[in-house]
C-alpha cells in the first residue's frame, strides 16, 4: 500500500459530506411521500383479508400479525371457494362494474372524438359564428371547465325525468362526455398546435381532401396525445360520483355509487368494504402503473406552452 499522493483539499470534504446528507434527505423525503401514497392502498388490500378481531386490533402485516382469510372476498362472491357458485352480491357487483366500464369507455371515446375534431378545426381554420371568432369559440369550450356540476345537476334531474333518461346509461354517458370535453379540447389543442401545418399542405397538394389529410396524416401523429386525453377522461369518468348518485337509482349505478351505498344497514363489515373498494380502484391502479406516461403527458400538455 502506497500512500495516497493526491488528496481532496480539506475545504472540499465537508461539501462531500453535505452531498451525502442531501442524498439522504432527498431519498428520505421521497420514501416518506411514497409511503404516504401507497400505504392506504396497502391497508385496503390487507384489510380485505382480515377477520373481525384482526381489524379491531389494527394489525398490519399479513402472516406475521394475522393470518389472511378470504372473508372480504367471500362476501363479494369473489373468493376461490365461492367463485364457482351463484352469488347475488357478485352479480350485483358485476352489473355495477359493467356499468362503470361501459359508461366511462363510451363517454371518454365520445369526448375524444368530438374534442379532437373541434380542437383540430380551431387550430387550423378561422370560424365566425355571430360575433364569435376562434378565440371566443375556444373560450366558450374551455369555460365549461369552471361550470360546477351542481349547477347542471338539478335541471338535468328534471329534464332527464321528462325525457325518461333517468337511471339510464346513455344519460350518464351524455353528461360525462360533456364534463370531460373541455379537458380533451385543452389537451388536443396543444397537440395540434405542435404539428406543423406544412404536413397537411403537402397532403393537400397531393390531392387529399381536408378530412382525408386529417384522418390519414394528422391523426396518426396526434395519436399519443389522444391516448393521453382518453386515459385522463377515463380516470375522471370512472371515479365520478356526484352525477351518478343523483341521476341513477337501480339500473345504471356505477361502482362509486355502490361503494358509497354500503354505509348503513348492518354495521360496517370492514373486510367486505375493503374488498369492494379495492375491486373498484384496481382497474385504475393498473392503468396508472402501465400507462403512467400518457397520464403525465396529458396533464402536462396544458401546463407548458
Amino acid at each position: 500500500m502506497t500512500d495516497q499522493i493526491f488528496h481532496d483539499h480539506p475545504n472540499d470534504r465537508p461539501a462531500r459530506l453535505g452531498w451525502y446528507a442531501s442524498r439522504v434527505a432527498i431519498y428520505g423525503m421521497l420514501l416518506l411521500w411514497a409511503a404516504i401514497c401507497l400505504f392506504p392502498i396497502y391497508w385496503t388490500i390487507t384489510t380485505s383479508f382480515k377477520a373481525a378481531p384482526d381489524v379491531m386490533k389494527g394489525t398490519l402485516i399479513p402472516w406475521v400479525d394475522f393470518t389472511p382469510k378470504w372473508l372480504g372476498w367471500k362476501s363479494l362472491g369473489l373468493s376461490p371457494d365461492t367463485i364457482g357458485s351463484e352469488s347475488t352480491v357478485r352479480q350485483e357487483f358485476m352489473v355495477r362494474f359493467m356499468n362503470s366500464t361501459v359508461i366511462s369507455l363510451t363517454s371518454s371515446a365520445a369526448a375524444v372524438i368530438l374534442g379532437s375534431l373541434a380542437a383540430y378545426g380551431l387550430s387550423r381554420f378561422s370560424y365566425k359564428f355571430l360575433w364569435m371568432r376562434n378565440p371566443d369559440i375556444s373560450f366558450f369550450f374551455l369555460s365549461q371547465l369552471i361550470l360546477p356540476p351542481v349547477v347542471l345537476a338539478l335541471p338535468f334531474l328534471v329534464l332527464y325525468k321528462e325525457l325518461a333518461l333517468l337511471d339510464t346509461r346513455i344519460g350518464l354517458i351524455l353528461l360525462y362526455t360533456l364534463s370531460v370535453l373541455p379537458i380533451v379540447i385543452w389537451i388536443m389543442r396543444d397537440q395540434f398546435a405542435g404539428i406543423p401545418h406544412e404536413l397537411e399542405e403537402a397532403a393537400l397538394v397531393d390531392g387529399l381532401s381536408i378530412w382525408g389529410a386529417f384522418l390519414t396524416i394528422v391523426l396518426p401523429i396526434a395519436l399519443p396525445g389522444m391516448v393521453a386525453a382518453f386515459i385522463l377522461s377515463l380516470v375522471l369518468t370512472w371515479n365520478e360520483y356526484f352525477f351518478a348518485a343523483l341521476l341513477t337509482s337501480t339500473h345504471a349505478n356505477t361502482l362509486p355509487v355502490m361503494v358509497a351505498s354500503q354505509t348503513g344497514s348492518q354495521g360496517i363489515s370492514w373486510w367486505s368494504m375493503a374488498a369492494l373498494s379495492f375491486a373498484a380502484i384496481i382497474p385504475l391502479i393498473i392503468i396508472g402503473v402501465l400507462l403512467e406516461r400518457y397520464i403525465i403527458k396529458g396533464m402536462a400538455a396544458g401546463a407548458v406552452k
Binding site: 411514497a34 378561422s126 366558450f140 338539478l154 356526484f242 355509487v257
Partner: protein
C-alpha cells in the same frame, strides 16, 4: 399560433348547383319544422288540449337529434368545402350548447319556483321567495365560508406539490417508481378514498393513523369531533388525492427549463436557495399560475369526500356548497331552492374566476 386566419388554405372549385343548395336549405327548415311541430304537439298533449297520451318528451328529443344531423349535413350541401371545415367544430358546439345552454336557461326558470319533485303539484312560480330564503339561510353562507377555507388550503398543497416536483426533478434513481407511486392517489376514486382513508384508517379505535397519533401522544385521536379538525381532515384527504395533479404540471414546467440557466446562476455564485428563489421560481410562475387556477377550478367542485365522510357535519363545519345543495335536495327534494343556490354559486364563481384570471394576467406580464 395565430388565432385568426386560416392556416390551411384550400383552393377548390366548388360548383354547387342551385338544386343542391335548395335541398340543403330544405332539409334544415323541414327538420326544424318537424322539431317545432313535435314540441307543439307534446306541449298540447301535456296541457291536455290534445290528449295523445305520450309518457315522455322523447319524441321531441329525437326530433332535435334529427335537426342537428340535418344542420351538419346541410353545411356541406350548401357551402361545399367551407362547410366541411365547419363540420370539425359544429358537432362539439351543438353538443355543448344543447347540454349546457338549454339546461342553464331551464335552470333559470326552476330557480325562481317552488318545485318539490315528490309532490304532485308540480312547479309553482314563487318569484323572489327563494332569494329571500337564501339570504336568511345561515348554512348556505356557512358553506360559502368553508369554500374560502378550502381554497386557502391550495397554497399549502401547492407548496408540497412544488417540493415533490423538485425532488422528482433532482438526480435520483428509481425515478419511474417514485413517479408512479406519487401519481397513484389521483387514480383512486374520492368515494373509495373517503372509505379507505377517512373511515377505516382514521377510525378512532384501530385505524393505523389513529394508532400513530396515539403513539405520538394524542390521547383521543378523533378526527371529526371539532369543526376545525374535521375541516382540516377533509382538506388533507382532498389534498392527498389532488397533489399529484399539481405536482405533474409543475414537474413538466421544471423539465422545460433549460439546465444552463441554473448553471449560469451557480457560476455567478448564487447559493442553491437563492438560485431557486431568483431563477427557478420566477421562471415557473406561468406554470404555477396555470396549475393553481386549474386546481381552484377542481376545488370548487369538491363534494364527493364530504358527502360520503361527514355529510357536512359536525354542524355544517365541513360543508362545501356542492355537498350542501346535494343534501338540501336529498332531504327536501326541492329542486327550485337548490337550483337557485347553485345559480348564485355559479355567478360568484364566474366573478371570482374573472378577477383571478385578470390578476394572473397582470402578474405574468412584467416577468417577461
Amino acid at each position: 399560433m395565430s388565432d385568426t386566419g386560416d392556416l390551411l388554405h384550400v383552393v377548390t372549385n366548388d360548383d354547387i348547383s342551385p338544386g343542391r343548395q335548395a335541398f340543403g336549405k330544405a332539409i334544415v327548415w323541414a327538420s326544424l319544422a318537424l322539431l317545432a311541430a313535435t314540441a307543439l304537439v307534446q306541449t298540447l298533449d301535456r296541457t291536455g288540449a290534445l290528449p295523445i297520451g305520450l309518457s315522455n318528451w322523447r319524441p321531441t328529443l329525437y326530433a332535435y337529434v334529427l335537426f342537428s344531423i340535418c344542420l351538419c349535413w346541410s353545411q356541406v350541401l350548401i357551402r361545399g368545402e367551407q362547410g366541411k371545415r365547419v363540420l370539425f367544430v359544429l358537432p362539439a358546439a351543438l353538443f355543448v350548447i344543447s347540454l349546457v345552454v338549454f339546461p342553464l336557461i331551464f335552470g333559470m326558470m326552476i330557480a325562481f319556483s317552488n318545485w318539490n319533485l315528490s309532490s304532485p303539484d308540480g312547479r309553482q312560480f314563487n318569484g323572489l321567495d327563494n332569494v329571500r330564503q337564501m339570504w336568511s339561510d345561515p348554512f348556505y353562507w356557512n358553506a360559502l365560508g368553508n369554500m374560502v377555507w378550502y381554497l386557502l388550503a391550495i397554497i399549502v398543497e401547492y407548496a408540497i406539490a412544488f417540493g415533490l416536483a423538485l425532488l422528482l426533478n433532482a438526480q435520483i434513481r428509481a425515478r419511474k417508481f417514485f413517479r408512479v407511486a406519487f401519481l397513484l392517489p389521483l387514480m383512486l376514486s374520492p368515494v373509495a378514498v373517503s372509505w379507505m382513508v377517512g373511515k377505516s384508517m382514521l377510525e378512532v379505535r384501530f385505524g393505523p393513523i389513529a394508532n400513530l397519533a396515539r403513539f405520538l401522544g394524542w390521547e383521543d385521536p378523533s378526527f371529526f369531533s371539532s369543526p376545525e379538525l374535521a375541516r382540516a381532515t377533509i382538506m388533507v384527504l382532498d389534498a392527498w388525492t389532488y397533489i399529484p395533479f399539481m405536482m405533474i404540471m409543475i414537474l413538466a414546467g421544471l423539465q422545460a427549463i433549460p439546465k444552463d440557466v441554473q448553471e449560469a446562476a451557480r457560476v455567478d455564485g448564487a447559493s442553491a436557495w437563492r438560485g431557486f428563489w431568483e431563477v427557478t421560481f420566477p421562471l415557473m410562475l406561468p406554470v404555477s399560475i396555470t396549475a393553481i387556477l386549474i386546481r381552484i377550478i377542481f376545488k370548487l367542485k369538491l363534494a364527493d369526500i364530504i358527502i360520503n365522510l361527514t355529510s357536512g357535519g359536525p354542524g355544517g363545519a365541513t360543508d362545501s356548497v356542492t355537498s350542501f345543495i346535494y343534501r338540501e335536495y336529498r332531504d327536501r327534494s326541492n329542486v327550485g331552492y337548490g337550483t337557485l343556490l347553485a345559480m348564485v354559486y355559479l355567478v360568484l364563481i364566474i366573478i371570482f374566476m374573472t378577477i383571478l384570471m385578470k390578476l394572473a394576467d397582470r402578474w405574468m406580464r412584467p416577468k417577461y
